[in-house]
């Protein structure tokens, strides 16, 4: 009798395989880690891939400064717990010395690209792990698992390398780097099911809690370092949770009483909105928003 891997087992094995290919072929990989659920999952898989050895890569967080305290606290705790090295590139530093300018709308998600690319150049990172999934968005649905970036960090969607079987081509010239997406074939529901199966801890804000929020562009936003409710927007106490975690100025909460992992899974399975559609103002900006940002070098 041969037992076979189930779907989550297949996805896990594939991701681990990818981590090990990168360890075998690159000199200076790095894992993008924000403390959000996808990057927490990514780190969990990396730890499994190299066990019992420690993860042979550092982590990089491009910090917008528009964070939820719970997430930063969680980030630092996880890093300490596993004895990892974390580089933080603060968008604020780039604004302070004039390399970046604050946007009129106060959103800093789009501002992450420059600090990200600068950090990659500075540390000579040659492989950059991201938690992107093909089910998130239609431009991501087109991306390879190993995705080559030019020396300027750019993605050329019309000239992607063929990528066959499990044979990933990591060859690149000096200055170029490869974005690596081990979660490409996972769906949002897979992520949650796996988090449950593995008992992976996440920041509390992914589960329902009470929070003061106000309505803007159809999304429930919270007040924070990124700004306050404007005139005509009233703060209300609601039971909410977050489906994604990004820049607080454009990451919306969803009304939800899903207080534990089982409830979240039930909610995600029944949801009629994708997590980005439900919670990310920036992806709604333009019809090709994600593709444009990816071309420039965004995650």
């Amino acid at each position: 009798m041969t037992l076979a891997l189930d779907t989550l087992g297949r996805l896990e094995s594939e991701a681990i395989h990818i981590f090990r290919e990168v360890a075998g072929e690159f000199d200076r990989p790095v894992i993008l880690f924000s403390g959000g659920k996808d990057s927490t999952l990514l780190l969990h898989l990396a730890i499994k891939a190299f066990y019992p050895a420690p993860v042979p890569f550092p982590l990089l967080h491009v910090d917008t400064g528009h964070n939820f305290d719970e997430v930063i606290e969680f980030r630092d705790r996880v890093v300490a717990q596993h004895g990892l090295r974390l580089e933080v590139a603060k968008v604020q530093d780039w604004i302070d010395d004039g390399r970046l300018e604050e946007r009129p709308d106060g959103t800093r998600n789009p501002l992450q690209t420059v600090p990200l690319l600068d950090s990659i150049t500075q540390h000579k990172f040659d492989a950059v792990f991201g938690g992107g999934r093909r089910d998130e968005e239609r431009a991501r649905a087109k991306e390879r698992i190993f995705s080559l970036r030019t020396a300027f960090g750019q993605w050329d969607p019309k000239r992607q390398r063929p990528e066959l079987w499990n044979l990933y081509n990591g060859r690149h010239r000096a200055g170029e780097h490869v974005r690596v997406f081990p979660l490409s074939n996972w769906t949002e529901l897979d992520v949650w099911n796996y988090i449950e199966r593995e008992g992976i801890e996440l920041p509390d804000i992914y589960y329902s809690h009470e929070r003061e929020v106000f309505l803007r562009d159809g999304m429930w936003l919270a007040e924070g370092p990124w700004g306050k409710a404007r005139e005509g927007e009233t703060l209300q106490r609601k039971v909410v949770r977050y489906r994604t975690v990004g820049d607080g100025s454009c990451t919306g909460a969803v009304e939800s009483d899903a207080a534990d992992i089982h409830a979240v899974i039930a909610e995600v399975a029944a949801s009629r909105l994708t997590e980005r559609g439900a919670t990310r103002a920036d992806d709604r900006l333009s019809e090709a928003a994600m593709e444009d940002r990816k071309r420039e070098g965004y995650f």
Binding site: Y51, P52, A139, A141, P157, L167, R276
Partner: protein, 591 residues
């Protein structure tokens, strides 16, 4: 729940993307925000006069939506009560065949679309061939756009028969033809009243029931990707089970050495057995020296090891495959040098004898996709330029290298200087031969052992069978490079004076000798100057059209990027140039 990975393919505009969009829509699998975006897009850039254009759901790149075609493969996810699916919607355009191959390589089933009005087109044939070649055995043929033919059963039967006749030569286990209209949603989910004469499965019914089991049974194979050595007490081999089931206590072998699986380690605890597909870490009972790229195989039935194969190749790059050119191949977790013997153009499929520069563990592609597939990479651009599937090994590596007593070191001691290749490259008439001749004279006068290989002279003898096509130029240089390497073994300073227009072949020549035994000299003379000099009258002939494939005129010259020496002949006399080369050789410690 069981997962099926499938592709849609077929000729351009046959309705592949529309069909997938319709499938997602009909099966109520669309998220509300995606649907809202679809409505807006359809009004703006749709091809259906403002009605829902389902192709826009999958054609996710701006360029695709503008041009109304698919350029690259899109991966979409959906699930029904019965199964989960990952569909790869591939482009029909011939230009983007490589992206179709990308999607097909990981699929277990294929939906091949036909436009009922057009039937089987050349691109349909190409896609069907690729599907068969990649080992996909189950296909549905969606005979689409029947709405434009009043759902005529005759039309459907005719196209189905046409496909069946063509497909007889392919390796499919099962072909199911479905009459469809993607835009109207006919026979996508449920049976349509518009085709009362059809009683086969609808497309979704077929997808939910097709037998997709890719057999991965047989003797175990474990690919080593990474040696896991956190400290001196633990040495594990991290990798993946590619076939069979690996069990604790199994006798396994690699490279002729045998050991026993002592532990199968994972973070969730040790396993007694690991099925095909598992990523685990193996600890062997003995201190067997295995590293990245090695394969542990069941000791009773290990995989073969060879360096020459018959293989099917699909070429994926605008620059065609040149026989004899040195490429790289990635197979398993190993990257080795690769050469093929036949030319192939973009999107061409061929059967060829291929050669790897080191023996690799392998299995035939039909037996094991993972150990029987490889990709071909360009050494300079790093692009993925081809894909290969091993049929069988040609000669098991039975030509052994003979160890000789009088070796290079002995010759260096006798000659009193190191050997080296001095490779002069540049346009015809650049001054290569003149400079090479002067350099040799100088070295000879100093008592160095030298030899000069001159392009024109060698073409009279060793290479008299070669012309000036790109393929012949590659072979010309390959032979010279080998001869030069032999002469380096003989202890000589070899002056090579050849146009040698391609970087890849010069890189090959460099690779054949030791680190400090190659000195590339770029005799840099601009085309206008060389043409002005025209010592042999060749440029005039070429300009008159009497000489085809002349470097600089109608055949490319790729200047060296980092030559050891660059000689600007517009400012240096031949004597000064030669002196510069000798000085540089001295600095390099050659003489």
């Amino acid at each position: 729940m069981e997962l099926l990975r499938f592709i849609t393919c077929g000729s351009v505009d046959d309705g592949k993307s529309t069909l997938i969009g319709r499938l997602l829509y009909e099966s109520k699998l669309l998220y509300a925000d995606h649907l809202a975006a679809l409505e807006a897009d359809s009004r703006r850039v749709g091809t259906r006069g403002g009605e829902l254009d389902f192709a826009l759901l999958v054609d996710g790149l701006a360029a695709e939506r503008e041009q109304g075609i698919t350029i690259d493969v899109a991966y979409r996810f959906f699930a029904t009560e019965a199964r989960r699916f990952i569909v790869a919607d591939t482009p029909g355009h011939e230009q983007y065949t490589r992206n179709m191959v990308t999607g097909a390589s990981t699929a277990e089933a294929a939906v091949i679309l036909l436009d009922a009005r057009k039937g089987v087109l050349s691109q349909t044939r190409r896609h069907a061939r690729i599907v068969s070649l990649l080992g996909i055995r189950h296909v549905a043929v969606a005979v689409n756009k029947l709405d434009l033919l009043d759902y005529s059963q005759e039309a459907f039967d005719a196209v189905a028969a046409q496909f069946a006749e063509f497909a007889a030569e392919l390796d499919f286990a099962e072909i199911t033809c479905v009459p469809m209209s993607a835009t109207e949603g006919v026979n996508v989910i449920g049976h349509s009243e518009l085709t009362p004469w059809y009683d086969g499965p609808t497309l979704l019914q077929w997808l939910e029931t097709v037998d997709a089991g890719s057999a991965q049974d047989g003797p175990s194979r474990f690919l080593v990707q990474w040696v896991n050595r956190p400290d001196s007490t633990f040495r594990g081999l991290s990798g993946r089970v590619l076939r069979g089931t690996l069990r604790q206590g199994d006798a396994v072998s690699t490279g002729g050495r045998t050991s026993t699986v002592d532990r199968i380690v994972t973070m969730d605890g040790d396993l007694a057995e690991a099925p095909a597909g598992s990523s685990v870490t193996v600890v062997l009972a003995d201190d067997v020296d295995a590293s990245r790229g090695d394969v542990l195989g069941a000791a009773a039935d290990p995989p073969g090891v060879a360096d020459s194969f018959q293989a099917h190749l699909v070429w994926l790059n605008e620059n065609g495959l040149l026989p004899g050119r040195q490429y790289l191949a990635k197979i398993g977790a190993r990257t080795v040098g690769f050469t093929a013997t036949k030319a192939l153009q973009l999107n061409e499929i061929g059967v060829d004898k291929v050669h790897f520069d080191a023996p690799v563990p392998f299995e035939g592609y039909r037996t094991n996709r993972d150990l029987g597939s490889f990709v071909v990479l360009d050494r300079l651009s790093n692009a993925t330029v081809g894909a290969g599937m091993i049929d069988f090994a040609l000669s098991p590596a039975n030509v052994r290298w003979q160890t000789l007593t009088v070796d290079k070191q002995a010759r260096i001691a006798r000659n009193g200087h190191r050997p080296c290749v001095v490779w002069l490259t540049g346009l015809s008439g650049a001054g290569k031969s003149t400079i090479a001749d002067l350099v040799e004279k100088a070295l000879h006068a100093e008592g160095r052992h030298t030899f000069l290989l001159d392009g024109d002279n060698v073409r009279h003898g060793l290479n008299s069978d070669l012309g000036f096509t790109d393929a012949d130029r590659v072979e010309n240089i390959r032979r010279i490079a080998e001869v030069a390497a032999l002469m380096v073994d003989a202890g000589l300073i070899v002056l090579v004076s050849f146009i040698s227009p391609f970087r890849a072949e010069r890189a090959l020549a460099r690779g054949l000798v030791g680190e400090n035994e190659f000195c590339e000299v770029f005799v840099d003379t601009p085309l206008e100057v060389a043409e002005e000099r025209d010592p042999k009258g060749l440029y005039r002939k070429a300009r008159r059209g009497e000489l085809a494939n002349f470097t600089g005129i109608d055949s490319p010259y790729e200047p060296p990027e980092e030559p050891e020496i660059r000689l600007d002949t517009t400012t240096l006399s031949p004597e000064a140039a030669a002196a510069a080369v000798v000085a540089r050789l001295r600095a390099l410690g050659v003489c």
